[in-house]
């Protein structure tokens, strides 16, 4: 039951987008988000949408997957849309019923904000869909490593993130197993009011925490036994190298920003 939850949602196919350098992909995602917020007119969303679709096609991703990433956001989207629609002062009144006034400016702002949210999320999911979590943290570590000079723990942070991501499926499986074991003893996780249900989680959470700590201890021991001592002087398995594709991706993104600013 818990196994059905997809996390990290990496979509494993071979494509030029998947093969881009993770550092470049992270920077380009940030640049894309900036582009989404730079646009002032609604027309600016056309190149932005074109960019996302191009990237998805190049990455061999079904568009359905990108849309699925937006689905959990629908309540926030509707909320944002309605708030901006009703509470924006404007000149051109489109509709006025009692105290509610819908203006053209309000409508445009509502559309703009909702569109920004949609593209923000699809841009971010594009990154996670095309980059395995481990590669992603690797890229992050490399990007943040200049900050090490001022004492920022870039390597440690990336290591913690990889370990956390690595253990999500393990803990999910463990949770599934413990849940079944307690169900076999007659536990009921589904019925009852909120307090009863919260209480019924105790037989699941206590063993889960115990096992998480046990695993953490074991892992720390195993890493130490293999002489892990932090990032200092550590070589890498995957050496990141820039290719021509990375250059093209940068050029396309730069073009997007220029077009958005000009519109």
């Amino acid at each position: 039951m818990l196994k059905d939850i997809t996390l990290g949602q990496y979509y494993p196919v071979k494509s030029p987008v998947h093969n881009l350098d993770p550092r470049i992909k992270i920077i380009l995602t940030i640049a894309f988000i900036v582009a989404v917020f730079l646009g002032t007119s609604l027309w600016a969303f056309i190149p932005v949408a074109a960019y996302i679709i191009l990237a998805a096609v190049l990455a061999h991703l079904p568009l359905k997957l990108l849309l699925k990433g937006i689905k959990p956001l629908r309540i926030i989207l509707i909320f944002t849309f309605l708030l901006n629609l009703f509470f924006n002062a404007g000149e051109t009144v489109l509709l006025e019923v009692w105290k509610i006034r819908i203006t053209l400016e309000g409508l445009l702002t509502a559309i703009r904000f909702s569109m920004r949210l949609v593209f923000l999320v699809s841009g971010a999911s594009l990154l996670t869909l095309t980059t395995p979590p481990v590669v992603l943290t690797d890229g992050m570590e490399r990007l943040l490593s200049p900050l090490r000079k001022i004492g920022f723990p870039a390597h440690e942070l990336a290591m913690m993130m990889s370990i956390a991501l690595r253990f999500i499926p393990v803990l999910l499986e463990e949770a599934d197993k413990i849940m079944k074991a307690q169900m076999a003893r007659g536990a009921d996780f589904e019925s009852g009011n909120l307090i009863q249900r919260a209480k019924s989680m105790v037989p699941l959470l206590v063993p889960l925490f115990v096992s998480a700590f046990r695993r953490a201890g074991d892992l720390a021991m195993a890493m130490e036994a293999r002489c892990y001592h932090g990032g200092e002087g550590r070589t890498r398995l995957r050496v990141l190298k820039l290719t021509m594709n990375d250059l093209y991706a940068c050029l396309i993104t730069a073009a997007l920003i220029v077009i958005v600013v000009l519109i």
Binding site: A184, G186, V206, S211
Partner: protein
């Protein structure tokens, strides 16, 4: 209360790229009073089969009947079923969560709706059956050794008084002493009338205590019979990545060396057979 498994198959995550056939067309009856050992190589589907016996997994096709009732039929009472068919998971010590051993054992019967004296009696009775030192009852389960924790978990299932007890690798990962103690507990439970399904990798234990053996191979029921019948087919077992008990191995080697002994399952039986063979040989000479 027999359990009938009729043409049961199970497919994990059907329709996804991770689709996997776990069980294929299993047909098996577990009779009252059986101590059925379920053996098979890693990934042969033993644990999947075990979880079907009390409705934690639903078969993709086929039926599981307990007392003639289809447990996956609409309106079937799963919780009532789980009182009749207890399941002890692999590494069951990791399911313990309460502050004291007493409270942990009480979890199951409490879920059955028992209170007061009745509950207390159940807990103490189950605790007595697993032969733990009396002072552990009020200890935290996390202070105990691995083998003791496993027996607490077993007591937690026994306290629900199931008539069928399914155990997934109950002795795996225990030291020899813990293993012997737990094997004794299992045998006593069986003697007291509980039907037992035992998943095990340890052929010596299977030979010692099982009344019937079912062999799973790649999700199919490959063999079914008494331990003696099954372990006589050593070569087939080996082709499935399984062993025969040490006693049977020794019998094979003795025969290869020219001593006439039948296949023996227990140490006592083997000793007897060797003596007979030696005496016979001595008489000839």
């Amino acid at each position: 209360m027999p359990i009938r498994i009729e043409h049961m198959s199970h497919v994990y995550q059907p329709g996804s790229p991770f689709e996997a056939d776990a069980l294929e067309d299993i047909d098996l009856t577990i009779n009252d009073g059986d101590l059925l050992a379920l053996i098979g190589h890693t990934g042969s589907g033993k644990s999947t089969l075990a979880q079907h016996l009390n409705g934690l997994l639903t078969p993709t096709s086929g039926r599981v009947l307990v007392d003639g009732e289809d447990i996956n039929a609409k309106g079937a009472d799963r919780r009532a079923l789980r009182q009749r068919v207890g399941l002890l998971f692999q590494y069951a010590e990791y399911q313990l969560f309460e502050e004291t051993v007493y409270k942990d054992i009480a979890f199951g019967p409490k879920n059955q709706g028992l209170t007061g004296d009745e509950l207390d009696a159940r807990v103490r009775e189950a605790f007595a059956k697993v032969h733990l030192p009396p002072d552990t009852l009020e200890k935290s389960p996390f202070e105990l050794s691995g083998g003791q924790m496993r027996r607490v978990a077993l007591a937690g299932v026994v306290a629900m008084q199931p008539r069928v007890l399914v155990m997934d690798e109950p002795i795996a990962g225990l030291d020899p002493k813990g293993r012997d103690e737990l094997t004794d507990v299992i045998r006593e439970l069986h003697d007291s009338g509980v039907t037992i399904v035992l998943i095990s990798h340890n052929m010596d234990d299977v030979a010692r205590i099982a009344t019937r053996v079912a062999v799973l191979d790649k999700g199919r029921l490959a063999m079914l019979g008494t331990p003696r019948e099954i372990f006589a087919r050593g070569e087939e077992l080996e082709s499935m990545g399984l062993d025969v008990p040490q006693t049977v191995q020794l019998c094979h080697r003795l025969r290869a060396g020219g001593m006439e002994v039948p296949d023996c399952l227990t140490n006592e039986e083997l000793a007897e057979a060797i003596c007979t063979a030696l005496e016979g040989g001595a008489a000839d000479a």
